[in-house]
Subunit: 204 residues, 2 copies
């Protein structure tokens, strides 16, 4: 089984890289579809699922009241259900065959398949430029607001990972390949990356 | 100009990766040759030059006497000369054309050429296994001694980098591609890596 997981900093182009890599490998790429599937199955709002499915459940309640840390059983039960559903779905998708999965801690969830785990990152200027290029939403924010937003999202991703494992999000030790996309067009990196992925899976 | 620099954890196979990549690209690989050239030019012992050329010059004198930090002008002048010579030589070699350079902070020294900077790393078990495979010296050490030795060498490399720049050795932000060689045969990674390097240099 050849499974590639893509973890990425917000704005680094990781999603595009995952999609293009999957196309080049001729395998499905699971990203937004996971959200669609859960929202349909659970009859929940798509945006709500998107929000919960990659963010720290702690965002939905204050983690402390006064000086008291809230016990884990206070975690909103619906968000936990969505995340459990997501985990199950990722396992089901992986069981169907080779694929690329973007985000959602698939590297941890699919450990038994020994996936090739890629982390995609970039310098701040490149990430801001990429966000502005891709999203009308980003254009409404000031550069400072955008940077703050990007950092928030990355922090949520890191927190989500921290819930599932002790290993740190973005720490190169936890990935097989870390790709810096600063000032580079993703498209041009794909043929080489595809060859690298092929070699990695066939390597002793 | 296409220059690839390889920084690496001791035992990660970075040297082998650099050599094989250079062969695949059809360009020279500079590694030990740099030491040979300096020892010949300066009429110095090869091992001595090897020791100085990649290690923190601070290893050659106590950095503090009592509580007083020794001023930089106390740094052994010969080691500084060797390191200056090394820097000059790396610049001369790069000026001659495309190449792969292993270690010696070439990524910093050759910044103006906008090299592709690769960092090679691996988990501890893989590094120990690789050291034992490659070196009779390593076999004479206990596993604990070997791990200590490996960490010492990496620390020296980090210190050498710290002398030249504020950016941290091994921190993925400072490299374009970070390759984890754990439990993988270097040879099998080369065709893909070669393709990736080609794509990176031609990417907009």
């Amino acid at each position: 089984m050849k499974i590639v997981t893509i973890s990425r900093e917000f704005g680094s182009g990781g999603r595009e890289l995952g999609k293009r890599l999957a196309d080049a490998l001729g395998v499905p790429c699971y990203d937004q579809q996971i959200i669609e599937m859960i929202s349909q199955k659970k009859n929940l709002d798509r945006d709500y699922v998107a929000h919960v499915s990659e963010k720290d459940v702690r965002m939905f309640y204050p983690s402390t009241i006064g000086k008291h840390i809230i016990a884990p059983n206070y975690i909103g039960s619906q968000s936990v259900q969505i995340m459990a559903e997501q985990k199950k779905l990722i396992e089901e998708l992986a069981a169907q065959g080779d694929c690329v999965i973007v985000g959602r801690c698939a590297d941890l969830i699919l450990k038994k398949y020994e996936p090739l785990n890629i982390f995609v990152y970039a310098d701040q200027a490149s990430k801001v430029a990429r966000c502005l290029e891709r999203s009308d939403e980003a254009e409404k924010l000031s550069p400072d607001q955008l940077v703050r937003k990007m950092k928030e999202i990355d922090k949520s991703r890191a927190s989500y990972r921290a819930m599932l494992a002790d290993s740190r999000w973005g720490s190169k030790e936890n990935y097989h390949l870390c790709i810096n996309t600063s000032r580079k067009e993703i498209k041009a990196l794909i043929p080489g990356l595809t060859a690298y992925v092929g070699g990695w899976f066939s390597a002793k």
